[in-house]
Assembly symmetry: C2
Homo-oligomer: 599 residues x 2
């Protein structure tokens, strides 16, 4: 019953007018990406995801994955065929290196495709998504032989990948992990242990599954400094590249979950499985973090995606459903009632969603551009600036993006009234699917601490100072008569709240670290508000410039200006309240003993 | 796996120290309710709900209700037995009139029992909850004969009741309803039509189900002025009280929903069913609103209940689960990791939940006292003041209480990390169950308009002015050295924001009604913040007085003071941001045409 229209016009507006991808043609990988090619890719990605993946979203949720007695897992009907079509069309290899069979295009396009895939079918998107994370880790830390053995067939989609971090007693705190890897005479390791919550751990989409597994080598230091990363393929790969023996790894069970039913969340049992070290001994966490950072941006996309798909359907429902009359008088007096679109509270929720989805899309693609620039920009200074920025924005995109994406999906369900609670309408699935994104790849509390505790202080605060300046520069010189003057003022004020909160941490969190922890969540939310505000100001500026030039899609550009104003009026005021919460400090939050929480 | 500890100490603190029920002994129904009796009732209600109802919550969710081919519906295993025990113990008849077999006790106790039932098992609680609503409507509008025929067996629980409002094309806008009721020669009506989303519409708990049905009599005025209310029993009741013929009403299907699986949400088909008019022709909406108002407070309780049960379990999990170290250094160095309770972000979520649940419990019981006083207070002025207050607070309790209850349940699920997403841990059910409360009995958008559009203006703003004064009086005279001085200041400020928002509506919404609609949601949230703030100030004051007197449970009283401070610091700052959003007005919210929302 739900429908999906790929947000092609909006994506192209961001790529062409905000990122101005065409200006980077001198960089490697960008040279062949003409505006025409970008347009074709975006349109075709939209077509594929809407026609092939979206129709499987609701049925996939209902059917879920099935684990059989022999430990094999089947995905829902249609997933196998869709996956083959997906790989054949090359959708997942767009931004992977040409050296290993990828198409070597900018991450901006890679993320665009990922966004569409995730909007259409989040559970499906996780299969290639996890593979992409494993590819990133092997690219960064694997040996040449490992790269040659695994990457081409992972990038083609013939094999998939997973991330094996969590164990029953250890999630966030990986230092506690117990899975062990014993060196063997042939240079391999024998891996034994139990991993849980392994997304795409076992399934029927690919002929091999390449597990990336964190484990301890006997004698390694305790805690997080004694963890190494291993490649453990489901089927051992022979020297000639053919599949060899079934390895000692199996799926012990799959979880019954709130959502993402079509992705198998597995308990993986490693029982003397053959594994190969990636990178250096005891440097596994660092290698894994390459994967995590890519994955976190992908999870941020999930927040956007569930907000987008639920928004699109709520917009349609608000036009179809008739109840009551507009407050200002009947909008369609010839009908027995007005469409609920006329009701201001419905409009509030739709505008909130519009402002979030368009702002977040811009922010994520802006982030993707930084990933590109961090690798490919011409100067070391540019590369460092981009790396700083994406490092700072990653926890914001993941944490703020998924907190808010869930809120929006919940509100879009609300537009449906009682029908939103009924399965067949599809809206409740979006909420259930959106919920996981706040939890995995580091809970949003972990993201907040990554931002406030690590990213803020790194290199003497270089990244955050550059971000402040970016925002201030964007606000500066906006004339009072500009149609986005109000937004610029409000954004400068919100940026001021972010600076004040940063200063407050500097003054109060050095001596009392709890003051940092107590404010980190709120800080991440101010940062999210400001980052989206920056995007909205850029969008307003670009829209106004094009309108003044009489160029482009007038309706879309005018809508950008109104939505930018709305964003300033209805989102940015929260920054001040959040700052005041931070400045309250930790005292009343941590004062009570555990007994005081009992009933 | 989840557990439930009835919050007896907290309930008694509210009843004894905040409401001071003992001071009302002169009122009818209150005379026999000594502190000892209150204590016994609260403790026994806790025991019953924890031992009998709570163990069926998770299994009920898994199993759900089943509709059979003959249209009959069976509830999950154990529900029948639990329901009989519930009725035998008299739990549902506590606050019903003695004249019809009830126990005639204050609503404060009735709501306490309802809260515990709902915490233990929301889906179960809806069966007697709906009966209670139907009883309220018959009490208010039924004839003496109708009361005598139906009430005793509904109050005993032998029969249950339902509310039949919604039709496929009409939810909020009841003026559109089409079910018709044709007068018959014998004085009854023949009712024909389809009703949807009928909670507890068909089940196996009772021998008869008394449907209250809104329908149109031929020739009635169009719209909401032509709606009448009818009693349509599943089995017609003979003159001697025995059950007669099966009536022409049947359950056509039950909905697959996001949650509350153990409550049957039915499509009810009326096919020439025999019905009897309640109250006057064409005055059905007014009669139904009696039921709705009672039901809205009950739904507000659901927001509290899901927050409470998820809070209790998250507190326990935060002690059991060990990950990482406290920011201020290891709390339990002898262990391999600290309990996650030490992490400030976990503590933030737990404190948010503690502040909300305790504040909301106080507010709902305070509301229940107003229901009592509106009927039973000694003077007309007191009765009117109480009626004004509960009229004003009902949409706040329903709307703010369920918005926030859902947020809290979501946060408590977050405390569990990945385990929160897995069904067996039980936390995701609380989120799914909490979600419906924002939708039914009038969506929270409808509540916001009820508050800002109706309750505010009624009687020249008498109710809201009285509320402002109540808050100001509570804040006035709090000395600067008082341990709750900061809260009092912040509350006075938040009350100021509420007044300013009210003034803004007066100045800007008369000529442009959209300005009201655009701000109503935010207004409801400021009102919720201030109302809970009032409760927290009263709790802080009472706690401090008892501490000063060296009286009572010291740990509980000290925790009240800290939590009150936390509430002031971490909740009340939002009031200012919300006011600024209101003052932005409707323009940017409603300016865009529907086409601008398309992708």
């Amino acid at each position: 019953m739900p429908t999906f229209t790929p947000p092609v016009r909006d994506t192209l507006f961001v790529i062409e007018e905000i990122l101005r991808l065409q200006d980077y043609a001198a960089l490697p990988g960008f040279e062949n990406v003409s505006p025409d090619i970008v347009r074709t890719i975006v349109e075709e990605a939209g077509k594929f995801t809407a026609e092939v993946l979206f129709p499987l979203n609701q049925s996939g949720d209902r059917q879920g994955c099935t684990r059989h007695e022999d430990g094999s897992v089947t995905t829902p009907e249609g997933f196998g065929e869709a996956y083959r079509a997906f790989c054949e069309a090359g959708w997942d290899s767009i931004a992977h290196p040409e050296e290993f069979g990828g198409q070597g295009m900018p991450q901006v396009l890679g993320f665009t495709v990922k966004e569409y895939v995730t909007i259409a079918n989040q559970a499906f998107g996780m299969y290639p998504g996890l593979t992409g994370g494993a590819v990133a880790a092997i690219l960064a830390s694997g040996s040449d032989e490992q790269k040659a053995t695994y990457l081409p067939r992972m990038i083609s989609g013939e094999w998939s990948g997973t991330m094996n971090l969590t164990e029953p007693h250890c999630g966030t705190d990986l230092g506690l992990l117990r899975t062990k890897a014993e060196p063997q005479a042939d240079g391999s390791y024998s891996v034994t242990g139990t991993k849980i919550f392994i997304s795409a751990g076992e399934h029927d989409l690919t002929s091999n599954i390449i597990h990336l597994v964190l484990a301890r080598i006997p004698g390694a230091p305790e805690g997080s400094k004694g963890i190494s990363l291993f490649i453990v393929p489901k089927f051992v790969v022979n020297a000639d590249g053919s599949l060899g023996a079934r390895n000692g790894v199996s799926c012990g069970s799959i979880e019954e979950k709130m959502g993402i039913h079509a992705n198998a969340t597995c308990v993986m049992n490693y029982d003397g499985a053959k594994g190969w070290l990636i990178g250096e001994e005891n440097r596994g966490l660092a290698a894994m973090f390459v994967m995590m950072n890519a994955a976190r941006l992908g999870v941020g996309l999930q927040g956007l995606a569930q907000a987008e798909i639920s928004y699109q359907n709520a917009v349609q429902y608000a036009q179809d459903r008739r109840q009551g009359r507009a407050l200002s008088g009947p909008a369609e007096p010839q009908q027995s009632a007005d469409p609920i679109f006329v009701h201001s509270d419905v409009r509030r929720m739709l505008m909130d969603a519009k402002a979030f989805t368009e702002g977040m899309r811009a922010l994520i693609l802006f982030g993707a551009l930084q990933v590109d620039l961090a690798r490919k920009a011409g100067s070391e200074a540019e590369r460092q600036a981009a790396d700083d920025l994406i490092g700072l924005l990653t926890p914001v995109i993941k944490g703020y993006g998924t907190d808010k994406g869930y809120d929006i999906a919940t509100n879009m369900q609300q537009v449906y009234g009682g029908h939103g609670y009924i399965r067949e309408w599809g809206m409740e699935q979006y909420v259930r699917d959106a919920r996981i994104a706040m939890i995995y790849e580091g809970t949003n509390g972990v993201q907040a601490m990554d931002l406030a505790g690590r990213k803020l202080a790194a290199n003497g605060g270089r990244a955050v100072r550059a971000f402040f300046k970016l925002v201030d520069d964007e606000c500066a010189g906006v004339g009072e008569s500009s149609p986005y003057a109000d937004l610029a003022q409000r954004l400068a004020k919100a940026n001021g709240e972010l600076k004040a909160a940063t200063m407050w941490f500097m003054g109060n969190a050095m001596t009392n670290r709890d003051n940092l922890g107590a404010g980190a969540h709120h800080y991440m939310h101010i940062a999210g508000l400001v980052a989206l505000g920056l995007m909205w100001l850029r969008m307003a500026r670009a829209a106004q410039a094009k309108l003044a030039a009489g160029d482009g899609d007038k309706a879309l550009l005018e809508a950008k200006l109104v939505t930018a104003r709305y964003y300033g009026e209805r989102y940015l005021p929260d920054a001040g309240a959040l700052r005041r919460k931070i400045e309250a400090g930790a005292a009343s939050m941590i004062e009570l003993p555990v007994e005081a929480f009992a009933r």
